[in-house]
């Protein structure tokens, strides 16, 4: 029984909960059991909040038994990336510097989960401060890819993706600064969406790069992602960058799943020789599929995307160097080297030296340099201009297309340890996902098959114009339905148990 529950989609689970065929406590307990069973190997979770999750589940069950009308996802368990502040629950952001920090407040995303009644199973592993593409930079050890435990689950949100792919949770919250939702989704055969910048509140999301960060849903199906998107999106007055106005009807779009007559642009610069053969093969099959489904696929060029990676690795470290200044051992988190002799400056430097891992320090140094006087124009200033050019490329492409597509990443999951000491090679993983963060649009990644050479999942990236996130779900659901028709089942069911 328990094993079956964990394999249900969130939509099915929600329907069974609503029909009282199952209680939220049962569903939550099933997930907790599954976590206890597989997480010692996967290490998707940094903290499991069994008590809190079951309390929420019991409360939802009581309300439902009392005849209360509840939102669709009430009672459906969820995993939360450890970057989100949750009152009373350890929030480490994958860093030693915040070891044992329990926030005295909730992120807006967490408040929404509480309002709707999703039991939060726990906090998922991530690259420290969301800096990384493999979850190997977590201070608490790497997460493993459910498809192959010797491979990375992507990053920074490897924990959330692995939790969903490993059937530990039907849903998870991720955050995406340069691909941290989409790349893990691609390499774990799951669905991940980075909504338009500002669609989901950043209040309570521990900032990496403020102008790039965006929270979004991780799920095993496009519809599940849409259901979660609906819960977490919407204007928040506590986030000055939060978009006002209504959220597009993403659930309706996922039900529509119709690409007939849709103009789909294939981004020339986000495909080609640098991409693994199996990735290219699956991608071109999807292009054919879209054409067969009635879409009008054409190639578009975004020449400035070539410079996006460079701009990103200047903007991100710059903002991060400032955002991470507050971790100085004075108000929260650990404090190191306070021996009664050292002055405040020395204690701050010792705390940060010992509390941050190598990738975080690397990026802080890089950002400090890029912002320093005399170099600002050359680096940060120039990167912000490239950002404008990337936006213009998107605008030009969307003048002719309704959505754009590309592979989500150049390769399938790589072996743990392969790139951990080679920052540049690691950064190249995000080459196809980064332009979206620079420009602010929404994008989705979904599984489109396994690469023939290694049998690992390949992801398709769908990109929509800013604010029109519903298009992602329409296209994603259409492709998903056609592929599952062909395969006879969702791809994730091919994952080894």
């Amino acid at each position: 029984m328990t094993a079956d529950i964990t394999r249900l989609s969130a939509a099915t689970l929600a329907a069974e909960l609503a029909g009282k065929q199952m209680s939220s406590v049962e569903a939550t307990q099933a997930c907790l059991d599954r976590i206890a069973e597989v997480d010692p190997q996967l290490h998707a979770f940094l903290y499991v909040d069994a008590e809190g999750a079951l309390a929420t589940a019991a409360s939802v069950d009581r309300r439902r038994d009392a005849g209360e009308e509840l939102p669709a996802l009430a009672g459906v368990p969820i995993a939360l990336k450890d970057v989100m502040a949750m009152r009373g629950v350890p929030t480490t952001v994958g860093s030693k510097i915040l070891e044992n920090w329990r926030p005295p407040y909730d992120a807006t995303v967490v408040s929404r989960l509480r309002e709707v009644g999703l039991p939060v199973l726990g906090k998922t592993n991530m690259d420290e401060f969301a800096m990384g593409s493999s979850t190997e930079y977590s201070a608490y050890g790497p997460t493993r890819n459910p498809w192959d435990h010797d491979r990375i689950p992507g990053g920074s949100g490897g924990g959330s993706a692995a939790a969903v792919a490993g059937f530990e949770a039907p849903l998870a919250i991720g955050t995406d600064t340069g691909g941290s939702i989409r790349q893990p989704a691609a390499v774990t055969g799951t669905v991940g969406v980075k909504p338009t910048y500002g669609a989901v509140s950043r209040y309570g999301l521990v900032a990496l790069a403020s102008s790039l960060d965006q929270a979004g849903p991780c799920a095993r199906s496009v519809m599940d992602a849409a259901l979660l998107h609906e819960v977490i999106a919407g204007h928040d007055p506590r986030d000055s960058t939060s978009l006002p106005g209504p959220v597009p009807d993403v659930v309706k779009a996922a039900r529509t799943a119709d690409v007939r007559g849709l103009k789909v642009g294939l981004v020339k610069e986000l495909n080609g020789p640098g991409y693994q053969a199996g990735v290219r093969q699956r991608f071109s099959e999807v292009v054919e599929l879209l054409t067969a489904l009635g879409a009008d696929v054409r190639e578009v060029s975004c020449p400035n995307f070539t410079y996006a990676l460079g701009a990103y690795y200047l903007i991100l470290p710059s903002e991060a160097s400032s955002n991470l200044a507050r971790f100085d051992g004075m108000r929260y988190g650990i404090r190191l080297g306070d021996d009664g002799e050292a002055n405040v400056e020395e204690v701050m430097a010792r705390t940060r030296e010992g509390g941050f891992g190598p990738e975080v320090k690397r990026r802080i140094m890089l950002g400090t340099y890029a912002l320093s006087s005399g170099y600002y124009d050359e680096f940060y200033g120039q990167a912000q201009k490239v950002r404008t050019l990337v936006q213009r490329d998107f605008a030009a492409a969307f003048a002719d297309c309704d959505v754009l597509i590309s592979p989500t990443c150049p390769t399938t999951a790589f072996p743990i340890g392969e790139k951990v000491d080679d920052p540049l090679a690691m950064y190249l993983n995000d080459i196809a996902t980064i332009p979206v963060n620079l420009a602010g649009n929404g994008a989705l990644s979904m599984p489109i098959g396994l690469a023939p050479e290694d049998g690992l999942p390949v992801g398709l990236q769908v990109i929509a114009p800013p604010r029109l996130d519903d298009r992602l779900y329409n296209v994603g659901a259409a492709v998903e339905a056609a592929l599952e028709d062909r395969w006879g089942h969702p791809l994730i069911e091919e994952a080894p148990q």
Binding site: A209, S210, D328
Partner: protein
């Protein structure tokens, strides 16, 4: 331990005879908004430590700032009152530096895009021969946030030197601050310290009249950094020193005066003035160097990505302009013209700190001449003797109104009125109580007056003859005698009338 070396000082007059001072003033004003700049925490002064804090102003991971609308409006109004151009598009920036009183380890401020630029304040500087108006040009007015409060503990003195550790209260962190920076103020010569003081004083009046801040220097809601440099006449600008946190009007003047004397000594010795931050010592009026830095701090400013730009559309600015009250300078001009008095008389009222009282007294129905006469005469002298402000005297506007009523009804004359005030100042009660207690009522009984008049007429036949020949001005001698006989408690006007009745002109 650092031993304090008192540098040689040049006598002030010599210093300004040899060198031309150039001023620069940076004033921080804490706005009197209900909530902080970027969060909803209250801003009340003196609350128990760390009770006015939230995730935002404690910089908890994940928290985000949101701009206080009233703070922006107040800043625009301040800019307008300082005759600034309001910049149509401006942004917030992050100023990055580590310090434990700054929770984010960066300050949200404005850098290359302040909200208001290029203004001025015409400052009236009192001098030995009247008033000189000096135009102080404003470089920029920008928004930022205040820091928390540090208490240095352990060690002997509670000062930063020798402290074992410090304690931080973040109640003040995030309170809106507006920084007003002047352009350099050249050419003030020996008057420089007075110009500095008058500028801060008149800026304070301006902020108060706008209602944007309580501008209490003693509570730190107005803080001043005073910069000055010296140069030989017609020489290029000298290197300036920046004296931080000069927190009273008198200190502004003292700090500038001290720095001019100190820098003159340095230059006289053929040395160079160091560009440095200095601290002002209230006790002896000296300044001392702060930590000297080998290189300028690199604040790594960049646009604050958590906040959107501010767009001060002209319509909005005009709406705000319409809310400006009559500003102090215009207000003074209007009063002067209403009262019809000279520049000199007006400045005397201002210098005596009597403007508000005189204005209120006039508003209560007293003539401007009488109001000025009382406040600027006996009362100003008394306040000066007591070393207090006029408003701290026990005499109120109501007292003056009553005394003037008694004068116009003929119950008192000027001379008696002075005695009434004497009594009020001595704590003998209100005007009526003093009049009763000291028996100061004018003699209003015509019979008694006529008796005194008749006696005087009998004693001064030659005067009587003059009056009767039509020389009414001769009546003064007789009136004087009557006043003397009644010990001043007669209404001179009534005496004159009765006398002229008694002695109608012949012919």
């Amino acid at each position: 331990m650092n031993t304090k070396v008192t540098p040689a000082l040049v006598p002030y007059d010599d210093a300004v005879a040899r060198y031309e001072p150039t001023l620069g003033l940076e004033v921080h004003v804490e706005l009197g908004t209900a909530s902080k700049m970027f969060c909803g925490c209250p801003t009340a002064f003196g609350a128990p430590a760390n009770t006015q804090v939230c995730p935002v102003c404690l910089a908890l991971p994940g928290s985000l700032p949101v701009v206080n609308a009233t703070a922006v409006e107040s800043t625009i109004r301040m800019g307008l009152a300082l005759n600034c151009t309001i910049v149509e598009n401006c942004r917030f920036a992050r100023k990055n530096y580590f310090y434990p009183d700054m929770p984010k380890d960066y300050q949200i401020s404005q850098y290359d895009e302040p909200i208001a630029i290029d203004g001025y304040l015409d400052v009236e500087v009192p001098t030995s021969d009247g008033v000189e108006t000096v135009r102080v040009e404003i470089e920029r007015v920008h928004m930022e946030e205040d820091t928390g409060k540090l208490t240095h503990t352990g060690g002997a003195t509670g000062r930063i030197h020798g402290a074992d550790y410090s304690l931080v209260d973040y109640n003040r962190a995030g309170i809106p601050l507006v920084e007003i920076v002047t352009k350099i103020v050249p050419g003030t010569g020996a008057l420089a310290p007075e110009v500095g003081k008058a500028y801060v004083s008149q800026l304070r009046d301006l902020m108060r009249s706008l209602g944007v801040s309580d501008v209490r220097m003693e509570q730190g809601s107005l803080r001043c950094d005073a910069n000055v440099s010296l140069a030989p006449p017609d020489g290029p600008l000298g290197t300036r020193s920046e004296t931080k946190n000069v927190n009273s009007l008198r200190s502004v003047e003292r700090a500038l005066r001290y720095e001019i004397r100190r820098q003159a000594a340095v230059l006289d010795a053929g040395e160079k003035v160091k560009q440095e931050t200095r601290h002002f010592n209230e006790d002896d009026g000296s300044t001392s160097p702060g930590r000297s830095k080998e290189e300028a701090e690199d604040y790594r400013y960049f646009p604050e990505p958590d906040l959107m730009p501010v767009s001060a559309q002209p319509e909005w600015v005009e709406e705000l302009r319409a809310t400006l009250p009559e500003l102090p300078a215009a207000h003074r001009k209007r009063l002067q013209s209403e009262w019809g008095i000279s520049d000199f008389d007006m400045q005397s009222v201002i210098n005596a700190g009597a403007l508000e009282l005189v204005e209120a007294t006039v508003a209560a129905g007293v003539s401007q001449a009488a109001a000025r006469k009382w406040w600027m005469g006996e009362l100003a002298r008394e306040a000066n003797d007591r070393g207090v402000g006029l408003s701290e005297l026990p005499v109120t506007i109501d007292h003056i109104v009553r005394v003037e009523d008694l004068i116009s009804s003929g119950a008192l004359n000027d001379k008696l009125a002075r005695k009434v005030f004497e009594g009020i100042l001595a704590g003998e009660g209100d005007a009526d109580e003093v009049v009763a207690g000291r028996k100061l009522e004018l003699v209003s009984d015509d019979g008694a007056l006529l008796a005194a008049i008749d006696e005087a007429i009998a004693n001064m036949p030659e005067v009587v003859a003059k009056i009767q020949s039509g020389k009414q001005q001769a009546a003064g001698a007789i009136i004087g005698a009557v006043m003397k006989a009644t010990k001043g408690q007669a209404d001179a006007g009534r005496v004159r009338a009765l006398l002229l009745e008694r002695l109608p002109a012949e012919g």
